[in-house]
Amino acid sequence: MATNTVPDIDSLLVPTHDEFARQRAVAAIHTHAMLRLRFDCRTAYERNVKPAFEREHGRAPETGAEIAEAIKGDPFYQFYSSIRYNAQEMGPLARQPAVERALPAMIEIAKSAAQSNAAGGSLRLDPDLVVPDYMTEYDVHLAAGSYHSEFVDDDVAQGVLLGRGLSPIAGKGRITKNRNFAGVGQSIAHWLKAKYPAFAPRRMLDMATQSGANLTAYPKAFPGLEAHGIDVAAPGLRYGHAKAEFEDVAIHFSQQDAAHTDFPDGHFDLVVSSFFLHEVPVPVTHQILKEAYRLLAPGGLLVFMELPPHKACDAFMNFAYDWDTEHNNEPFYRDYRSQDPTELVVAAGFPRDSALELTIPDITSFDMDRYPAFLKGEIEAPPHGRGGWFIFGARKPG
């Protein structure tokens, strides 16, 4: 760290007293909707909606989609949905002013980091890359501007706005969010080392890396690992590169579409992603997994953190998850979840007997004294999104 000359880009984000209070207030409402109302909704469903459906159809709803249709007129569902939708929308709105104030100075830091590459990483942007229609037609997650939009030259704003929220609450309390979405990389890296002690990847790729929040954990866990991250959105790559250089972690960021990259065949021993495939149309999911297969060296591992599929949840949980399809600007969410992860990797060329699907503990919140028991199969990981992460993957023969 001693030789590092890249300043801390995050240190420029300084909300006022009231901006900080507003961010925390919105987070409190959103947390209440996600951790209380979303589950109370099951009670409302069991007591009111399900009996009415049974009277009409002579059976209980069998799919999430049936529940979604049946519950539409229920007042509790309507208030829960409205509260959650508004809180989701208000999150970025509460964070924007601080980002706008810091933007000119943040851009300067990102530009200088891209020139110095003090930590040994790199940033390769492709100004001619066409961002796919499915990203530009609506703002995913109800965040105005989404990930890819640029409003000024060398823009980092959307990367900061949507990436800084991934950092755990720590330090000076800047832009914060309650759940630790950035624990995924650490959790997978830890699980890989425990599960495959002989696995020593030389080069890895994180697809749809945004600002690399879940990528930096891997070179830290596997010393000497050459880490690459790609995304179609430039603001997050610029921001992530500046952060990685400040943290003295060498990461190679490049602006590429995961469905067709410019890396040679067999270039990587490990290909990962998180929170990715449910945001793309199912045909693109197939292209991405085929590309991952092409990019893996013999013996290489694919590990994607994703939403649990329909087959792993009951009808109510499928309804609860798939809410985002219509109401969080994630139109492929339900179609993605209707796929079987094992069938997806088999279709991409991986051997069926190498396919894996499981939920692993989030190591930033799990009692690690119990990890050996988890590895032995004596205890299960906490549910996905509440202390655990669902992952699937496969191994290329070699």
Binding site: D18, A25, T43, F79, M90, Q96, E100, L142, G145, G173
Partner: protein
């Protein structure tokens, strides 16, 4: 930068540069869309009440400690973690009180924290 990436290509003048309106069809949850609009007003107002609560708490703490305070100091003050932890608990209780929904009846389920 190109049109393809949505770049404005303009120099940064500072101030407001980011959009406040989201692209895509807005969800309607109630039969009457004015109800959806009223919920947005209500949620914004609820948030601002929480901001005022924090500001009042900050004022009380500063007055207790110093007896005299400056507005600039108040504007820039980010609470230390122990104060923020107290406020987080206060906010959670506030949200629970204000969002007192009529259904489902009976005791609410325990919060599903990890």
């Amino acid at each position: 930068m190109t049109e393809a990436n949505g770049a404005a290509g303009a120099p940064l003048a500072g101030g407001r540069v980011l959009p406040r309106v989201i692209k895509g069809k807005r969800s309607q949850f109630f039969d009457d869309p004015t109800m959806d609009q009223m919920m947005t007003f209500f949620m914004e107002l609820m948030t601002e009440v929480m901001v005022l609560r924090d500001r009042q708490d900050t004022l009380e703490r500063m007055l207790e400690e110093k007896g005299g305070i400056s507005r600039a100091e108040l504007r820039d003050l980010i609470p230390p973690p122990e104060v923020e932890a107290e406020r987080a608990a206060d906010r959670a209780a506030f949200v629970e009180r204000v969002l007192r929904l009529h259904e489902p009846v009976g005791e609410p389920a325990p919060r599903h924290d990890a």
